[in-house]
Amino acid sequence: MLLEEKTSQEQAFEPLIVAFCCNWCSYAGADLAGTSRLQYPANVKIIKVPCSCRVNPNFVLRAFQKGADGVVIAGCHPGDCHYSTGNYFTRRRFTLLMNMLDFIGIEKERFTVDWISAAEGSKFAAVMNGVLEKVHKLGPNRKMRDKRWKR
């Protein structure tokens, strides 16, 4: 019923969410979400990285350029990093990047960092559902899109 009430334009908007997940916690958390058959939208597509600290800001901007409407970085909870300190750096790096994106007018809601352990399949699904909801409200990301890239 709710779906029908949406305008056709809203329906046409299928957000693309790129999620960088660390191998040890969040990727495994996503696996657990799958194993537990928890539903989250197909718009979320995951790229595996060894650690959230492997995610370069370049990748985030690249994803926005290439049409991602939202980008997620998910890593182990601070203190639980497989590489002991990786996500502490992730935390600092992307605190600054998030603020910078905000500063040039990219909505903060398009960029999410969250800590999801291997045991938190349900959190994984919840985070992704939440991200999608926020991005859906914002609509398509046009601000950083490379207009030459055809999706």
Partner: protein
């Protein structure tokens, strides 16, 4: 000669824009540049030098000119560069107008660069004389008349209250005809005022710090100039950025790059700078290894190579590089040092 009250300039531009694009100097975000004039834009006739030279209209900083589509092993190629419609380039200064002639020699020599040629062909250039030349100007060293711009289709003078409008070419004539309802015939008083205005401009030019600068083709042998030991001293402060190149109305080096659009390929060319370290970098080496060599290339090109090939120095004395160089190194200093008057 025609004229129009200066405050009616927006109407004039509006009229021009009805027939096609008009490029005019407009201040956006604090800098004046040539951009497609939109109703409401105020054409800036005060700023002498646009931050980016007017060459950007004829030779855009970046231009996609090809599209490739691949289907299996099949390839199709579509040309998308160049200009298809007539347009007006309004508000060019004498130096920039002269730069077009210099660029013509490169781009219109065989094999003709069709993208440049189409823009040159379809554009009507309206030049504006410089009422108040600035300290960094040295166009006069190249016999460019800031008081009477050459090489444009129409010449305009800003008297303060009026814009004098003098047709130079047939193209200019056609444009003028289109603007008939707006432009009025100048009177005898105006005809007399123009030489006075020009003389006043020339008097100012006489006063400029670089008024005495002489720019003539260097008489020494190419190799002798190339090996001049002053190059090192001149280039030592150079940061290797491309500011001088990109603000230069005569620099025309470009790069060609492919972009994967996800579903095909777009090929574009963009301005490049011989000051950049990777300009001549090849897999197995670089013939211009240090900034000295790259710096030398840029100025040898302007002062020696281009003159050897086209009999003119590739500089119009616009002064942009004097203003823009982060460390104030520039062509005037080089002209004075290399094979010239020892200071």
């Amino acid at each position: 000669m025609k004229k129009i009250a200066k405050d009616r300039l927006p109407e004039l531009l509006q009229k021009m824009a009805e027939a096609g694009k008009v490029y005019a100097p407009v201040n956006k975000g604090g800098k004046t540049n040539f951009s497609v004039w939109q109703p409401g834009d105020a054409a800036d006739l005060t700023t002498l030098r646009s931050a980016v030279p007017a060459k950007s209209v004829l030779f855009p900083q970046s231009e996609t000119y090809l599209r490739f589509a691949q289907q299996g092993k099949k390839l199709s190629i579509e040309t998308v560069g160049g200009e298809a419609d007539e347009y007006v380039l309004f508000g060019v200064r004498a130096c920039d107008a002269k730069s077009f002639a210099l660029l013509d020699k490169v781009f219109l020599s065989e094999p003709v660069d069709q993208f440049y040629a189409s823009r040159r062909e379809l554009g009507t250039v309206v030049a504006v004389a410089c009422r108040e030349p600035e300290d960094a100007c040295f166009c006069r060293a190249f016999d460019i008349a800031a008081d009477a711009p050459a090489g444009a289709d129409v010449c305009v003078w800003d008297t303060g209250d009026d814009l004098f409008w003098l047709v130079q070419t047939e193209k200019g004539e056609r444009l003028t005809a289109r603007l008939a309802g707006l432009l009025e015939d100048a009177g005898a008083a105006d005809d007399a005022a123009l030489p006075a205005l020009q003389a006043q401009i020339r008097a100012q030019l006489d006063e400029l710090p670089l008024a005495a600068l002489v720019a003539e083709k260097k008489h020494q042998a190419l190799k002798q100039l190339f090996d001049d030991e002053q190059w090192l001293a001149c280039s030592e402060s150079c940061l290797g950025c491309g500011t001088c190149t990109y603000v230069c109305p005569t620099c025309h080096c470009y790069d060609i790059q492919d972009y994967d659009t996800g579903t095909g390929t777009e090929r574009s060319r963009c301005w490049d700078s011989c000051m950049f370290s990777d300009f001549t970098q090849m897999a197995h080496g670089n013939p211009r290894k240090t900034q000295k060599e790259r710096f030398r290339q840029r100025f040898m090109h302007k002062l020696v190579y281009y003159p050897n090939n086209y009999n003119e120095i590739a500089c119009v004395g616009c002064g942009r590089c004097l203003e823009a160089c982060p460390v104030n190194m520039n062509i005037v200093k080089v002209m004075k040092k290399i094979g010239g008057e020892a200071r």
